[in-house]
């Protein structure tokens, strides 16, 4: 997530799709998650808005793994 918010399972994604799982990452100290979006919008780097209990919160598509231990 680009904003302070935790995505959770079932939250709608603006433009279609939804979060299938999400939590807060203590290592990255941001909300992270996985979800479905329309294939046309599924490129890494794309920004999207997730409906977090009625408020649109900005997220960004990243490549897996979301977190990779350094060293």
């Amino acid at each position: 997530m680009e904003e302070k918010a935790v995505p959770r399972q079932g939250m709608p994604i603006d433009g279609g799709g939804e979060v299938t799982s999400g939590t807060h990452s203590p290592m990255l100290d941001v909300g992270i998650g996985m979800g479905y979006v329309p294939a046309a919008r599924a490129a890494p780097g794309n920004e999207l808005a997730i409906d977090v209990r009625g408020k649109a919160r900005k997220g960004r598509i990243v490549k897996k793994p979301i977190y990779k231990r350094e060293g």
């Binding site: 302070k4 918010a5 935790v6 959770r8 939590t23 807060h24 203590p26 909300g31 209990r53």
Partner: protein, 131 residues
């Protein structure tokens, strides 16, 4: 470091596990040790905006932990004068010190008579005993 269980006797309590420290016509609000313990480590505080109003017995924000999200109930009505930015930046502050550095918001009371409806520490402990 999680705080040890405590319920200061200079606070007023709401049965939804919120506290108020009344200071003249203002009050500082937060959640009790019991609330933070039930939620676990907090990762997000969805705060109201300064200048907005909060209404007694209704939600004025959300606290989210790794495992759960909960509304925060206002024990008193008022206008939001300040939001604790330290908690917005580091929500675990609430776990470490729920009554001092872990306060959530400061309000100017719109109806100080509401204070009479809140619980003192003994009554709140009674609520906890019934959980």
């Amino acid at each position: 470091m999680a705080a040890a269980e405590s319920y200061p006797d200079d606070l007023k309590y709401h049965r939804d596990h919120d506290w108020a420290r009344v200071e003249g016509d203002e009050a500082v609000l937060g959640i009790t040790w019991f609330a933070q313990d039930a939620l676990g480590e907090l990762v997000h505080f969805e705060a109201p905006t300064v200048g907005s109003t909060v209404e007694k017995d209704t939600s004025y924000g959300e606290v989210e932990s790794v495992k759960a999200v909960s509304d925060v109930t206002a024990p008193l009505s008022g206008e939001v004068l300040a939001v604790n930015q330290a908690v917005v930046d580091a929500p675990e502050t609430v776990n470490e010190d729920p009554y001092r550095s872990g306060w959530l918001i400061r309000v100017r009371l719109t109806d100080p008579s509401e204070i009479d409806s809140l619980l003192d520490v003994e009554s709140y402990k009674q609520v906890l005993a019934e959980q």
